[in-house]
């Protein structure tokens, strides 16, 4: 029994890193632009399929193709932002939030539908030659692809953290989060900052998707589930807090692991969403932390 709990917890933590990587882009865009990109899960899905096809058609290892996936998703993000989201930046706050939400839904619907047409509804996964390899520590099994994924997620998040803290551009992004009007007065180009946040977010989502294809499996309809996972992690970790997002991801991973033990894996999503609703409503009521709702 203790080994079972330890094994579940280990898997939860390993998955949690991936959840953090999946959520950090959503959180960054929400913090910077104040709009919620509900097509975030579909960007993850595209990253997963890109990695899958590069592996299947060209035989490129999914870990080696990660930078290429990131670049591809940055380009897709660039197209989506310039074509659609940039049009709504100047709207009044309430309209901006609502319209970007609706446009995001349209985008997710289109991407999901096109993926179904092109990739079929089959479950796909990347099985590398080393997929089954694992090491055992204190009786707990650690599959190496999952450990590598956690490490990559951590590296990405730490890199983003230092980019935002130490570089001039990163500081401009944070200034925009604090007060976009004051940032404009200081000569920061808001449109550029928004675009940058959006493409970084897309790139991170793409890498997360590629890692999901390695660790689990991908389907065209996975977008909504991953958008919800990212939302839960974002709310658990605190908005705009990069390292907090990582902690939120681990927290969700561990929650999933505990639900696996009781009441059972099929209640995973329900427990996570209920947790999300409780945190959301208590934040709105100002029970703990700042009032954000």
């Amino acid at each position: 029994m203790p080994t079972l709990v330890a094994q579940n917890l280990a898997f939860g933590i390993l998955m949690g890193g991936l959840y953090g990587l999946a959520a950090v882009g959503l959180s960054l865009v929400f913090g910077v632009t104040k709009f919620l990109n509900v097509a975030h899960g579909e960007l993850l899905m595209l990253g997963g399929y890109a990695s899958f096809w590069i592996f299947t058609l060209r035989g490129v290892d999914p870990f080696l193709s990660l930078p290429a996936i990131a670049v591809l998703l940055v380009l897709i993000g660039l197209i989506l932002y310039t074509l659609l989201f940039s049009r709504m930046v100047k709207l009044p706050e309430a309209d901006k939030i609502k319209n970007t939400l609706l446009v995001g839904f349209g985008v997710s619907l289109i991407l999901q539908n096109l993926a179904l047409l092109f990739f079929t509804a089959d479950d796909r996964g990347i099985t590398t030659s080393y997929a089954g390899k694992a090491f055992t520590l204190l009786g707990v099994r650690f599959p190496i692809v999952r450990v590598a994924s956690l490490a990559i997620a951590l590296v990405c998040l730490v890199a983003l953290h230092f980019f935002l803290r130490r570089t001039y551009t990163g500081k401009a992004i944070r200034a925009t989060v604090e007060d976009w009007e004051a940032a404009t007065v200081m000569g920061i180009n808001i449109q550029q900052v928004y675009l940058l946040a959006f493409v970084i977010s897309a790139g991170m989502a793409g890498m997360a998707g590629a890692l999901v294809a390695v660790c689990q499996s991908i389907v065209p309809t996975m977008g909504l589930d991953w958008t919800l996972i990212a939302l839960v992690v974002m709310v658990l970790g605190g908005l705009g807090n990069i390292l907090g997002t990582f902690v939120g991801g681990i927290a969700l991973g561990v929650t999933h692991a505990l639900t696996n033990i009781w009441p059972g894996g099929e209640y995973r999503e329900i427990v996570a969403l209920l947790l999300f609703l409780v945190v959301l409503v208590s934040r709105a009521l100002g029970l703990f932390g700042s009032k954000e709702g």
Binding site: L84, L102, G106, L109, I110, A284
Partner: protein, 333 residues
């Protein structure tokens, strides 16, 4: 009553008579089923519109009320052996009860938080029902033997007409004006003594009631489906898209939206059936392209034509009217 109003009422009555006569004129099951689908989507879109359109609360949890209405009706009717109509009313009651239960916490959330909160709630319902009732729900053989399409059609017709009529009279009442005031500017409405919370809750309850009613009709019509199916998020998104494409926050918007949605989908499926081409060695079948088309149209409406087809008609109409006026003037002189 002005001449225009009399003409409008006469037209509506004529349309209703035509719709009532439809199953007697058209015998093809295919056409009746298509009409049923239009009415089903109309009920969904018009009930979403009461909360999402007139009160400005973009709910992404509409499927929860539709699903709960369908689940309750089906369980009482088929499993508990109740007669159908009490089961249908119980389905509506369950949807209203859920609305009252979640209303207080849900309306503590504003804007995007309300949207994602209701979405999460609907997904909780979706996953719970999938766990508790995993087996497909089929009509028993004795019901199947006597299955008739016409009563189903009439039920959907009554449901859709009731939904649209309620929305029509509601938005012309004091309460409806309050709902729209809350949509435009919550703080300003509050300062005029309009309780934003009460009006939002009222809109949610009315919206849930008719979503539940449509769900009950769904449970009556479909012979076999998974109980989870009406809880799927698509029902919410479809309703929202139809309301927007037709004209959000208008009475005719959902009607046009539902008609357009079902007819276009059918045409696309029929024309694209079997159309295939090969890209990068992948065989692509275009049969299900309609969601891409609606998604694109939806984005274009949100970005460029927030009033949907209703607004487009409002923009085109003066062109026609000016022409007729010019004619009248030239005749008079």
């Amino acid at each position: 009553m002005s001449g225009k109003q009399i003409i409008a009422i006469a037209l509506i009555i004529a349309l209703l008579v035509l719709l009532a006569l439809l199953p007697m004129v058209i015998k093809a099951e295919y056409s009746i089923n298509l009409a049923v689908l239009v009415l089903l989507y109309l009920g969904l879109a018009a009930s979403w519109n009461i909360l999402g359109g007139y009160t400005g609360q973009t709910s992404l949890g509409h499927a929860a009320f539709f699903g709960l209405g369908s689940l309750t009706t089906r369980l009482l009717w088929l499993n508990a052996g109740w007669p159908f109509f009490p089961s249908l009313l119980a389905g509506c009651g369950a949807a209203v009860a859920l609305a009252l239960l979640i209303g207080w916490p849900a309306f503590k959330l504003r804007g995007v938080y309300f949207a994602i909160g209701t979405l999460a709630l609907a997904q909780v319902g979706n996953a719970t029902v999938a766990n508790l009732w995993p087996a497909i729900s089929s009509l028993p053989a004795e019901y199947l033997a006597t299955y008739q399409l016409a009563p189903r059609y009439y039920l959907f017709l009554v449901v859709a007409v009731l939904t649209v009529a309620t929305a029509y009279f509601l938005v012309r009442s004091r309460l409806g004006l309050g709902m729209m005031a809350v949509r435009e500017e919550e703080e300003a409405a509050e300062s005029l003594g309009i309780s934003a919370f009460r009006h939002k809750l009222l809109a949610l309850v009315v919206s849930a009631f008719f979503a539940g009613l449509t769900g009950g009709a769904f449970a009556f019509h479909f012979t076999a489906y998974y109980p989870q199916f009406p809880f799927a998020p698509t029902w919410t998104f479809d309703a929202m898209m139809m309301a927007y494409i037709g004209g959000v926050g208008t009475i005719v918007g959902p009607i046009i939206g539902a008609l357009f949605f079902v007819v276009t989908r059918e045409l696309l499926v029929l024309t694209l059936q079997g159309v295939q081409f090969v890209v990068l060695g992948i065989e692509v079948s275009l049969e299900d392209l309609h969601l891409t088309v609606f998604g694109l149209l939806f984005i274009l409406v949100v970005l460029f034509l927030p009033g949907g087809f209703v607004e487009a008609w409002g923009k085109i109409r003066p062109v026609f009217e000016r022409r007729t006026k010019v004619k009248e003037v030239s005749l008079a002189s």
